[in-house]
């Protein structure tokens, strides 16, 4: 169960109080009725589904009721930040990413793959 900082309640709350609401920063076209089929597809169906930093929406549905956004690392599941709905998509720095990204592979726990470079057949 994640611990999520609600930018409105100004504290971290358990995930049980929240409802995930999908990818963030997909604005509804102002000229909705006029957009092309392709643009509608992009708006409604296509998702970045990034392996890495994701921008996503949450609603503090069993709390303050507010929708807000978050930047999270989808491999470590750690949050970089949460911010209020309507705020601009933040620029995430490398330092911020480094702070949340999982340690590199190569150490064995949970990455039980053979070390890279171990080519070919063993005996």
């Amino acid at each position: 169960m994640l611990l999520i900082h609600c930018p409105y309640c100004e504290e971290e709350r358990p995930e049980l109080e929240f409802r995930g609401a999908g990818e963030a920063h997909i604005a509804r076209p102002a000229n909705m009725a006029e957009i092309s089929d392709a643009d509608f597809e992009k708006f409604f169906f296509i998702r970045d589904n990034e392996k890495g930093v994701v921008y996503e929406r949450w609603r503090h549905i069993h709390g303050c009721g507010r929708f807000f956004n978050a930047a999270r690392h989808s491999v470590s599941d750690k949050f970089i930040m949460t911010y209020k709905a309507g705020e601009k998509k933040p620029k995430i720095t490398k330092t911020q990413i480094d702070a949340v990204k999982p340690p590199a592979k190569g150490t064995p726990a949970n990455e039980p793959v053979w070390t890279v470079g171990g080519k070919g057949e063993a005996k």
Partner: protein
Amino acid sequence: MSKVAQRTGPLDGRNFGTTGVTLTPAAAATRISLRAREDGLATAKKILGFAPPGKPKSSATKGSINCLWIGPDEWLVIDADDSGLPAKFAKEGNTKLSAVEISHRNTAILLEGAKAVDVLNSGCPQDLSSASFPVGACSRTILGKSEIVLYRTGEHAFRVECWRSFSDYVWSFLMDAAKSA
């Protein structure tokens, strides 16, 4: 005209206690879901007699009226007496705020006793220590599979507000938790 209908709460007649806590249905109250932005607060203040609290998780009280911060533009107003709040709000109109009466939507359970926090924490995932949830703190949150609004009225006393049809569950949950706390 036949007789005037009488109000019956969903938990009327119940009570429960262990050595650690007691559960009591709260008396009927008038409740308003108050929604307003910055520009509506003055009106709200005029009617309530005090400003709705601005800090998350906090509440303000004057006389019979409690005003609980629920969200940045949402308050739960609970009036233990009938001070005619709905009418007063109605008079102000809906241009700057919305006041919807929900007196009957919610019902409340009073939970008191040394084990109150343990009982609540059987189903509520928030940190309810006095440091993080002091007397006067309030929050919409979860209890088991129900949504509640939790309001700490004393070191060992809480008011648990929930929607009417959830109250049977919330009551039973608290009872079950109280027995095993």
